[in-house]
Amino acid sequence: MAAEVIVLGSQHATPDVGAVVRERGLRGPIAIVRAGYQEREADDGPLVAALGVPAINLALHARASAVFADDPSFTTAYRDRQALLRHMQSCYRVRLEKTEDAARTIALRYFEPELLEGEDAVSVEQFRQLDANHVIRCEQVRTAFAALWHPTDRPTVARHRAELAALLAPVEAVVIAGGHVASLHNRLELFDLLGLAAGKPIIAWGAGAMVLTDRIVLYHDYPPYGSDVAQVLDSGFGVAPGVVVMPDPSRRLNPDTGPAIARFARRMAPAVCVGMDLGARLDFVDGALVAGRGRHLRPDGGIDAAWSGRPDDPAVRALADSLDEVTP
């Protein structure tokens, strides 16, 4: 596990990652992962400039493409796995939408407030069951694939892993940028990069931050087709536990939907949901959140813009204590 993980807010035109590098006294080289940008992975000029220290692009996307080109049988199986995961995601999403519909319909019933509250708790529990079940099934698919194909033992993967290990040896830290979260997650997994980089500090944002948490949660309150319900993509690598990282809330999150925010925060509990715009930050040491700032989505539907990131936040603790462990 990484000893230190720093999660930053979305880095757009004015990235603040350079300030973090200077604050930590890092002089480089720093390894950078831009696999989330897929074919544009190598366009790292602005990022390297923002870091202000020597950097090595690990080129995970390009390496994965080389693996897929060199190892046809593995590639076919890998693509089949991905298709299976996509199909499972689409079925899970249908269930989420129906559950959302049911929750909204029930919320409109002319019942006593106490009963409505109880029914709302049932709706939240149904979401939690769906999420938990989906994550377990995704993990089962990945585990079964790993057991059958032993990806890190494939000759091409092993060769790239050896190269990556050599590249990582002198670096002071690993920076994981955003981009396509599924693509990034898959490439980090394929090469077991976090295993190779064990003990190195990690600085990440956007999709790079999401994959480090326990669960990767996709959200967008303004999709082009009107509305959508947040969904779990998969389990993350868990080195930044206990939080749901929600990048770019100023563009993606509708702050005026209190009941929906409340339901979402309770659905994700005991994890703390944190909207992370530029300037937000979460610091983890040895797998524990020690400091942070961001937009905390509270279980009462409010948004706390001045959230301190304290792990002992009494509201979060109380909520966590009130929810039973979900065992589908």
Binding site: G36, E39, A69, S90, H180, A207, H220
Partner: protein
């Protein structure tokens, strides 16, 4: 307020200079809140507004402001509306249909061009305009020697970031060349793909030399698309070749063609986009008031409505509120939903025209063939 513009004119001296000055102060048609005032200036025996808003008289007379050559008509136009129209100017007992010379907004279609009035709140979507930052896809005309129809050509759109090593969904567009000409579909695809809202896709723009026959539930058309065209493209390009990645779309009779093709090959097309479908039917008897061209459509729709079945996974239906087909489309939606298919339905305050269909493309395609916008976090 738009009537206020006329009141303002009526309060001015009835001189050419005063009218010129009044006209210089206004943009026509005058749209204020929920009302719109059409204006024409010139000598005529009568002037009529001709529009395609189902539910209103299709011809309404403009009145002349006494002592001037200004004609006007004020009507209510709900917010968000978009209306295509022409003016009929009657001189020497003969009417001539013209575009509104005071309004530069035009919408083209295969029959020419109409003037366009935008109600309060309607905005032309930004994503229909050429965006220099969006790399353009490649569009070619391809010839196919088909078993069904012999030699036919179709437009083929390949997205800008196309790579042989990837696999793509396929979108087949009925009346495809018209979608390109009148709904800016090439530009729309470039923009929506670049914004990550629509998946990089291979798009086939197919057209028929005899669309009223071939699109009206013609078995040959379904066979041509499914057994000639799609296999040809799937052999030529790296396509996903699974139902979830095959989308059929069309408008008007093209929507009938899309639905009837999907019905003839259930489970082959996992995505359908049906815009203002000419889904004529009868509740009793077999002749619809729309005429004999619709007879095969009526027969098809009556069969489908008698036993609605799930022939696809996701269906997006759109229709304009100002179309005569709104009834047919509205009544189809619960039937589609009843089959268990995933259905979305969108109405717009617009008519049976290409810009209505253009304006719905973002909603529809981002849902049917979503790009990675939900997965990308900077």
């Amino acid at each position: 307020m738009s009537a206020a513009a006329i009141a303002e004119l009526e309060a001015t001296p009835r001189t050419r200079e005063a009218v010129d000055a009044w006209m210089g102060r206004h943009k026509f048609p005058v749209v204020v809140g929920p009302s719109i005032t059409f204006v024409w200036r010139g000598d005529a025996e009568a002037v009529h507004l001709k529009h395609w808003v189902f539910g209103l008289p299709s011809s309404q007379s403009l009145a002349r402001v006494d002592g001037t050559d200004v004609w006007h008509l004020t009507m209510q136009l709900p917010p968000g509306s978009r209306v295509e129209y022409k003016l009929e100017v009657v001189r020497h007992g003969k009417g001539e249909w013209i575009q509104d010379p005071l309004n530069g907004a035009l919408a083209r279609d295969p029959f020419g061009a109409n003037s366009v009035a935008h109600g309060t709140g309607y905005e032309v979507p930004g994503w229909i305009h050429h965006d220099r930052a969006a790399p353009p896809g490649r569009l070619d005309e391809i010839f196919l020697d088909s078993k069904t129809f012999g030699r036919r050509s179709f437009g083929l759109y390949v997205p800008a970031r196309f790579k042989r090593s990837r696999r793509y969904p396929l979108l087949v567009v009925h009346d495809g060349h018209d979608y390109l000409r009148y709904a800016s579909m090439g530009t729309v695809l470039d923009n929506l793909i670049d914004r990550l809202e629509v998946a990089d896709a291979i798009v086939v723009f197919t057209s028929s030399p005899d669309r009223l026959r071939e699109y009206a539930d013609d078995e040959r058309h379904a066979r041509y698309v499914t057994e000639d065209l799609v296999p040809f493209v799937e052999r030529t390009f790296p396509l996903e070749a699974v139902p979830q990645s095959r989308c059929l779309m069309g408008a008007s009779f093209g929507a009938v063609a899309a639905l009837s093709t999907a019905c003839r090959y259930p489970g082959f097309y996992g995505r359908l986009l049906l815009q203002s479908g000419s889904f004529a039917f009868t509740d009793i008897g077999d002749r619809n008031h729309r005429g004999p061209l619709f007879d095969p459509v009526v027969a098809f729709m009556n069969r489908f409505r008698a036993e609605p079945t799930a022939v696809s996974e996701r269906v997006f239906v759109s229709c304009g509120m100002y179309e005569s087909l709104i009834y047919e489309n509205r009544s189809l939606v619960p039937m589609l939903l009843g089959t268990g298919m995933d259905v979305r339905y969108v109405e717009a305050r617009d008519g049976h025209n290409w810009e209505n269909w253009r304006d719905r493309l973002r909603d529809a395609l981002s849902w049917l063939l979503p790009g990675p916008f939900l997965l990308v976090y900077e």
